[in-house]
Amino acid sequence: MRLQRKDLLGLKDLSAEEIELILETAAPMKEILGRDIKKVPTLRGKLVVTMFYEPSTRTRTSFELAAKYMGADTMSIATATSSVQKGESLRDTARTLAAMGTDAVIIRHSAAGSPALLARTIEASVLNGGDGMHEHPTQALLDMFTIKEKLGGFKGLKVAILGDILHSRVARSNIWGLTKMGAEVRVVGPATLIPPEIENLGVKVYYNAEEALKGVDVINVLRIQRERQKKGLFPSLREYARLYELTPERLKLARPGALVLHPGPMNRGIEIAPAVADGLQAAITEQVTNGVAVRMALLYLLIGGAN
């Protein structure tokens, strides 16, 4: 079995079976990460390009390591200054990459839908490394891998996603993935940071953190961007922390032993209390390891087989 698709643009389009296959394949990949020699020759001779139009050391290095561990060559196109400023369109850059014989492109872009545009333009596999407020499928898959590893599965699980839901591609991908796998998803945050009609995606909306966290099995804490405050979406970081910070007291409202996730980088003392971030229930550093394993699995499933 393989993924019946060229690209990974989002979890909205994936079936539960496909998600299951990705998570199943990531488990043996994680074993490779525990070895002294973290390298297999599976993707030898393949070229994986990371194209990041938004700075993100974390996701980019995770993808690059995943590709290297799988034996692929990697190339990174750093685009701190956007191609728009340089006058080269995304499509032109893509065509250049195609001419170089690229097998997979990882794209991170502030504009939602850019991976779709790229995928339509080139034959290589396109993996969405996060596009605007749309989706961040590999982050959600690594979150789900961590949940499955720690808690065994998803059926009937209560998962709270806490914070800036409006701007969060992580939240959207998690909602698609978790609801497909049978989990119950709650989103909680200030009313100004909840996207319109999100309840139609099958989630429950809460504005009160205490109420939302009651009895949940997993809490996925989102990063709050300081710029949002400047745009007037909430009055101050102080008030945000008072209402939504995941503190030890709030964590106690969840099921005992509930899992705490955070996509990083964290704002300690704003969205998550240091004691929680460094506590026993947090799987935040493990998420980083799992991210490499999940991305190795995806590269194998998308470009590891017959062309």
């Binding site: 909205k12 728009v84 369109s89 995304l90 499509r91 872009h109 502030s110 504009a111 939602a112 839908g113 850019s114 779709a116 545009l117 596009d131 605007g132 407020m133 749309h134 989706e135 591609r169 959207r172 996207p195 319109p196 009609e197 999100i198 139609n200 995606l201």
Partner: protein, 431 residues
């Protein structure tokens, strides 16, 4: 050369006419309109059996882009697109470079249209200097030069006082003020309609309220000033409600809707196809139904395309970076026929009235009716003709249509401007 149009179903809402009539055109004028006319010697006889024959269609809201943006469209290409789409006259918006905020730009457009155009072109003058929304433009000069309306279309007039002054001042010249209703702060750099689809796609939303807040403001100002307000591209149920309420109170207001807001929904954005990026944005089905109902009820007077061509490279980018606008001149008629008339949501009479008598009345321009002795601007539509939209066959320089590949029924097959056939079977006939 005389032309006799024989055997067609003539629909002229201005004269309450709908039936089989023959039309004789001699020179630039219609000379006779009656049943079973004999062709004079040497006349060209056009068999219009099974066809709909209407007064030349008028599109009162297009962007011809010239001067300044000739890579997107020119007066030559835009008027050919109009003729191909069955239109004999267009009103073109002022957001050119330089802006049409002075008599000289109005003269330029009219002169260029006379030399290179194939349909009648009526320039709309800018409402404010440089479209900046700060000081009203020389509306008296613009009127004297031939502007048929004033508008900052493409941008809202955010300052209510400027809008008030424009409505008061334009009243002296009997010019309508065409308002692009959008509260920029509420629109918040949005890219599409705010709602479930935007939430799923992660595209910043423009709430319906961004339009409705301004519709409400402008209706109140129209009432205050007694000026002539025309609402451009009405797109939400809330705007329709405000419009109906104002009309019932006797406010002097007219309104238009675009074929795309009447026929397409925000579901179309799901592909991230940048040709679906328009302002106001495509709305959900509930809004579309309300706008259609308002058109059928006569609360919305006009169908206007808001034809907004862009160069391919402008649109071949990320959704965020693409400019707003879609072309519409060459698909307006078959889209409305296919989506509204054939399913019974709108009658032929209603549709044609909104393309003829109503825009002629609002802009106070000739045409809009088939009158013996009047100008011979005539459009013939084949209601049964079915074909796929192919943007590569457009006369417009813009290919930014989300209808590419869509099968539509009811295409214009003949356009006559001033007694001359300018389009036949989709092809422009050059002089």
């Amino acid at each position: 050369m005389a032309i006799l149009i024989k055997g067609g179903r003539v629909i002229d809402p201005a004269r309450n006419l709908d039936g089989r009539q023959d039309i004789l055109i001699e020179g630039e004028k219609i000379t006779t309109l009656a049943a079973n006319l004999e062709a004079p010697a040497g006349a060209r006889v056009i068999d219009a059996g099974g066809m709909i024959v209407t007064p030349g269609l008028i599109d009162m809201h297009v962007h011809l882009r010239e001067p300044g943006y000739e890579q997107k469209e020119t007066i030559a290409s835009g008027t050919r697109a109009a003729a191909a789409g069955g239109f004999t006259a267009v009103a073109c918006m002022a957001n050119t470079k330089p802006v049409a905020d002075s008599a000289s730009v109005i003269y330029f457009i009219k002169e260029k249209a006379r030399q290179e155009g194939v349909v009648r072109v009526y320039p709309v003058g800018a409402l404010s200097k440089g479209l900046e929304g700060k000081e009203i433009a020389e509306i008296g000069d613009l009127a004297a030069a031939g502007a048929v309306a004033i508008s900052d279309d493409g941008r809202p007039v955010m300052n209510a006082l400027v809008m008030r002054h424009a409505l008061e001042y334009a009243k002296m010249f009997n010019l309508p003020v065409i308002s692009h209703c959008e509260d920029e702060a509420l629109a918040n750099d949005g890219l599409m309609h705010e709602g479930l689809v935007a939430t799923i796609l992660g595209l910043r939303g423009i709430p319906a309220a961004a339009e409705e807040v301004m519709v409400a403001r402008d209706l109140i100002l129209a009432e205050l000033t007694g000026g002539r307000l025309h609402l451009a591209h009405v797109s939400t149920a809330g705007s329709v409600r405000l419009l109906k309420e104002a009309r019932a109170r006797g406010v002097r207001v007219t309104a238009e809707a675009t074929p795309h807001h009447l026929c397409l929904t925000d579901m179309l954005v799901q592909s991230y196809d940048t040709s679906t990026k328009v302002n106001p944005p495509l709305r959900p089905a509930g809004d579309v139904a309300a706008v259609v109902a308002a058109l059928a009820a006569g609360d919305i007077d006009v169908i206007a395309s808001d034809h907004a061509p862009h160069a391919d490279e402008d649109k071949d980018v990320e959704y965020d970076y693409a400019p707003f606008g879609m072309v519409g001149l060459e698909t307006a008629v078959p889209l409305v026929v296919t989506e509204l008339i054939l399913p019974g949501k709108l009658t032929w009479q209603q549709a044609i009235k909104s393309w003829t008598a109503n825009p002629a009345r609002i802009l106070n321009i000739p045409g809009g009716s088939l009158v013996p002795g009047g100008v011979a601007d005539v459009t013939i539509i084949d209601p049964d003709m079915e074909k796929e939209v192919d943007v590569n066959e457009f006369y417009s320089r813009g290919h930014n249509s989300p209808l590419q590949g869509r099968k539509l029924k009811g295409w214009p097959v003949l356009t006559i401007v001033g007694g001359r056939v300018v389009m036949e079977n989709g092809k422009i006939i050059e002089e």
